[in-house]
Symmetry: C2
Subunit: 730 residues, 2 copies
């Protein structure tokens, strides 16, 4: 830490000597590169024409800078947001064209803010502990500072000194003071908000040659580096680049990470910011891109809105900087093509030049199966993405055994989500929020987010005694993470992951293993072994939030006819309507649904007796904030219980041709041949053949030898698990 601080002090010193602009978004060299390569590239010309078209009409028109009044979605909110984007684009155009009118526009608008900002009190719609001034929350004020300071820096040489002073003192200083002093605890958080806050303050520092701001941004208020930008780069990512809040917020945090890193690189190139922590920002970008579905949507873990994909403005910016820092990569080209435009920075130009050769762009994003650790040292659990198949037919299973994920985390230890060919099949509800829709609680998180969407029952993992993991208390949840047992991501047709948790519910150990495999005949099976162990009796609920049309259930059930009640009264259960229930015993139950043109069947072993429920979200929802999505729940009362479930992807339906094939499941029987402290052996009959899953309980060594005898035939293997199909090891 001492060396880091010394280094920072040294490069702050150097900054005084070489104060010159632009240096925030563009370095002088970047700008020369961009200008030299603009002509002759259609995509660059389109991107340039597009921002000109948006910007030019304002060159000779007054820009409204309204008194802050509305929540997100309302006029004043949207106007201030539009203003900072306008100024940023105007800065780019000034840099590229040198046309004074663009600098004048920036000066004119920022002078209006210089009059407005000093008098602002907390926003009238502010409700959070980090209220904003221009906007309802300080986060948006930080967004404003990041963009306007870049605009100011780009136009620096086109704004006269007296105006620059007015802007620095009037537009920027009150906001920086507000963030660093009034909101000091917020500014010093380890959280995506703080990434924005530190980037905002640091970018203003760079734009206005204020070293004090830069220092605050890098080292935090204490000055000792326990908070600030370096601490955020050090603590929010695991060593392999997993962002602890999950992919939805990675996307959001990457922008300030990348853009501030870029500005720091421009100003202090000798510091090699982009190589910091083994190039953690490169890992962060690559991991974020891997955490998307075939359609580019970020996997909706934790608080997430499901229509965010990698074409957002944040990812456009991140890709631009990543390309400048780490070079052109096929994955980046694929994403840039989907984005359909490039940012007119150095990296954007590099991308556009490379994309001029269509053969350089791969047909599919180079997705792979990946295992991420979580936590700054990689010791707070992890996340496995198991990818089966290729191209359009790829299926992705997400197995989540991460830490809580800060304030946007959900109570979902050992959760599963399944995507198949671009479709969400076993869903995470995501978050209950209509961001940007003023009529929906000002675009903020809705009450149903905390009361339903974050609760365990809203996920595909075990709920004990109708109580969420860690009793739904974030402060407790933040202290624990599950532990990985074993995994294997190398065999393309057999992907395996297993983890254990002993903290989510006091006195209950949960072990969950997933075997995601493609059978010799091409069929895909997800085998899910979930073992709950306790010395006392509990109610174990295992929900499957399937998405699709109910097709068939193999068991009789009683459905709600003229009246219907909720599945429970608390911890999210009160948001589920109980549409049907069944009592079953000592059998295999099978439930099939259809999504798009594919059938999915869940086959579940029922040992002793169990209750089954078909439920649907939407109860106790007076403002109609929830979606009405179905869930299938398996309920067991037991102390020790092993759930064996097989989800099968099968068949094909052609609604235009009115034909279907393979609509019946091929799993015929599920049994446990052994299930004790030594080993669990499950036997699954598929298409008349036995599929054996053998898994050690405690000896997880990769070199231990095991054996199991069935019908006089001895199966032998090395390591914590093995699968045998028709007697042959897979």
């Amino acid at each position: 830490m001492f060396r880091l601080l010394t280094t920072i002090s040294l490069f702050l010193l150097s900054s005084l000597l070489y104060a010159q602009h632009p240096v925030g978004f563009y370095s002088k060299a970047d700008l020369e590169y961009v200008k030299a390569n603009l002509t002759g590239n259609a995509l660059l010309q389109q991107s340039l024409a597009s921002i000109k078209k948006e910007t030019d009409p304002w060159l000779d028109k007054p820009v409204d800078v309204p008194m802050p009044k509305d929540a997100a979605g309302g006029y004043s909110h949207e106007k201030h947001k539009a203003n900072y984007l306008l100024l940023f684009n105007s800065g780019i155009l000034y840099s590229i064209t040198g046309k004074q009118a663009y600098a004048d526009l920036i000066a004119r608008v920022l002078l209006q803010y210089a009059k407005l900002n000093p008098g602002l009190k907390n926003h009238p719609q502010a409700t959070s502990t980090s209220p904003g001034r221009i906007f309802w929350q300080a986060l948006n004020d930080a967004n404003w500072l990041v963009y306007t300071s870049m605009a100011y820096d780009m136009a620096f040489n086109g704004i006269k000194k007296s105006d620059r002073d007015l802007i620095t003192q009037g537009a920027f200083k009150p906001e920086v003071d507000f963030i660093t002093q009034d909101l000091k605890p917020w500014f010093n958080l380890i959280h995506n908000h703080a990434v924005w806050a530190t980037a905002a303050v640091g970018m203003v520092g760079i734009a206005t040659d204020n070293d004090q701001y830069i220092k605050l941004a890098l080292k935090g208020s204490s000055g000792n580096g326990s908070s600030g930008f370096y601490a955020l780069m050090g603590q929010l990512f695991s060593p392999d680049g997993y962002y602890t809040e999950g992919p939805y917020y990675t996307r959001y945090a990457l922008l300030p990470f990348m853009i501030f890193a870029n500005a720091l690189e421009n100003k202090f190139p000798e510091q090699h910011l982009f190589q910091y922590r083994n190039a953690i920002l490169e890992k962060a970008v690559n991991t974020a891109l891997q955490h998307t579905n075939l359609d580019g949507m970020f996997f909706p873990m934790n608080d997430a809105i499901k229509d965010k994909d990698y074409t957002t403005s944040e990812m456009l910016m991140a890709l631009n900087v990543a390309t400048k820092a780490y070079g052109v990569k096929p994955a980046y080209l694929f994403v840039a093509k989907k984005q359909g435009k490039v940012l007119l920075g150095k990296g954007g130009v590099q991308l556009a030049k490379a994309m001029a050769d269509p053969k350089a762009i791969p047909d599919w994003f180079p997705y792979t199966s990946i295992e991420n650790t979580d936590g700054p040292t990689g010791k707070q659990g992890g996340l496995d993405i198991l990818r089966l198949g290729k191209g359009q037919d790829q299926s992705s299973l997400i197995f989540k055994y991460t830490s809580h994920g800060l304030s946007h985390g959900h109570f979902d230890k050992l959760n599963l989500n399944l995507f198949d060919g671009g479709k969400e099949i076993l869903q995470d509800y995501g978050s209950a929020r209509f961001v940007g829709v003023e009529q929906k609680y000002g675009g903020r998180y809705l009450p149903e987010n905390g009361k339903y969407a974050v609760q365990t029952i809203a996920h595909n993992t075990l709920v004990v005694d109708e109580t969420s993991h860690f009793k739904g208390e974030e402060k407790i949840a933040e202290n624990f993470a599950p532990v990985k047992r074993f995994s294997s991501l190398d065999q393309p047709n057999l992907l395996v992951a297993s983890a254990m948790d002993t903290n989510a519910t006091a006195g209950v150990r949960m072990d969950r293993s997933v075997y995601f495999l493609q059978m010799p005949n091409g069929q895909k099976l997800l085998i899910d072994l979930l073992k709950a162990s306790s010395s006392s009796q509990h109610q174990y609920d295992l929900p499957f939030h399937y998405l699709g049309q109910f097709i068939h259930a193999s068991f009789p059930y009683q459905s709600s006819k003229n009246s219907m009640t909720t599945l429970g009264k608390k911890n999210g259960y009160q948001y589920l309507w109980k549409e049907a229930e069944a009592n079953v015993a000592n059998t295999m139950v099978q439930f099939s649904f259809m999504n798009g043109k594919t059938f999915y069947s869940l086959s579940s072993m029922i040992h002793d007796s169990a209750k089954l429920f078909f439920a649907r979200s939407g109860a106790n929802d007076p403002d109609f904030n929830l979606r009405h999505d179905p869930v299938f729940v398996i309920r067991k009362n037991a102390s020790n219980q092993t759930f064996v479930n097989v989800l099968e992807i099968h068949g094909q339906y052609d609604p235009v041709m009115e034909t279907s094939s393979g609509g019946n499941a091929s799993v015929q029987q599920i049994g446990l041949l052994q299930d004790n402290q030594e080993m669990t052996v499950a036997n699954i009959m598929v298409n008349g053949q036995a599929l054996l899953i053998c898994e050690s309980r405690n000896d997880l060594s990769k070199i231990s030898q095991h054996q199991f005898e069935i019908s006089g035939k001895k199966m032998e293997w090395v390591g914590p698990y093995a699968l045998f199909y028709n007697g042959r090891k897979l």
Copy 2:
């Protein structure tokens, strides 16, 4: 009629003289044209390669002709279906390439059917009054005959005489006898099934040179033309080409209409079949295409499955024949491009040649506002499609005042449906059926179709005393149709339609007028005036089946929290969960929802008191056959009641940029200034300006002069209605 019969006899005579093949799908001239134009056209080569790829693997492989056993979706059903398509393609390939192997394949498979068919009894899964033999319903047997007879005709010259005789006697005759004798009443229906049945028998007649079959097909069993193909062409369409069962079944019926007409044209060119009844088949094709939404989906009136669009195989065939008969048209080219392939008939080749010039294909389908009459003489009501705006932003309002529409009709007099920019906004449920999915009741219509989907409450029209129109009895419904009052489709920014019904509910007259307008500021409004008149007190329910996310309601309501009951007990009401209800009086209520990126607000005048309900389908649905879709219901108890509703399309939401604008409705107040036997005058305050809707009650003359005075200002107009905005006539 006498002349018609004479004509038929004459051309049957001629057929004996010139029996030659091919003559069913191809005429000899067609085939020469196709062969001469195949090379050098990429689309044709692709289409050829595509069917070769499907067909060639079977040339040296046994084809299974299984014993009929399964319902739709099951193996034997799908196999027989695949077989007839295989033979048809093989026939095309034989015709084009002359390769004997294709004819051999056809002969080989048809000889298998020649062994199978004579022994067949009714299909084990048959449930309807028209059971099939190869399939569960006779309709599918007719499909089989249409395709296999074309295949046989194409391969005629490549099959040896002895085999031809075996096939004629064994494969075709038992099926033709079954359809024309065992199912005689069905064969003689006026219904889409009979179109298939007559085409099947007629096409076999043409393929096997059997004039008796052709005669039966054309004139029906009686021989007097009261049934059969001419009667179907004469009675199923209105003079302007509206098909009485609605667009979903037009699509289905068009194939046998067009393909049999094509064969008749080939065999008897002097009869000018394509010009019959003022070229009714051309009108039918063009009307069918106009009855689609921007995405090509057929409007889901009556029994309809919502994923049928104009790319289905039926429309591919219809377009091919229509082009041959009526020439290449821009609309056909647009559809052919969406279909992405062409049939290798004469019309298909004409289309492919024209499409080689991309400029010939319009950017958008040339949709227009249209008014169709219903019934053979156009006197059984009608249907208006009001189209506002252009290109991607086009909105389409469907106002249905047709006759019942035979056995697939719904009880939905004066129903409205709204589409906006490719999205369904006010929906018709369509039908409850998963066609082709064996697990769902063998792919047949589900019980919930008759009990919910056809009922009045499942539509956007008035339900009196919780009872469906005509008490839900088809036999009664078929005797009546509403009467058009007035309409105007000429002004692109103000589209008007009005109709009246006095039969759907005894003792209640319903008048409904829709004014669909684009305001000077670009905003779109749908003004819906529905007047119920009776001498006695009734419960009037007006449902709006909106599709979208609930955003805001201007009125307080009580929502179902921990338990929920159905909206009612009968006539479809038992399928709706009552999610919330409200009591309101003397006010305007406003309800907003969002669909895609657009807001929609329904503003409703409440005179005296009313109850409002938010409900959702899915109650009493033990097999989970229904979708869970929302509906907003306005309930009034009254004898005379005028409902004034305004649906406004407004605002924009950008989920990626997280911004929204224009999210609040602009309708501020709705009142009735006059509402009596002479005139109804509604006053709608929009954006602070008065929009007056003036409508005559009984004097609907286009030349009558009317006036209305407000605040001392006199409004004057000619005709049954007028709109004034801010004092200015629209």
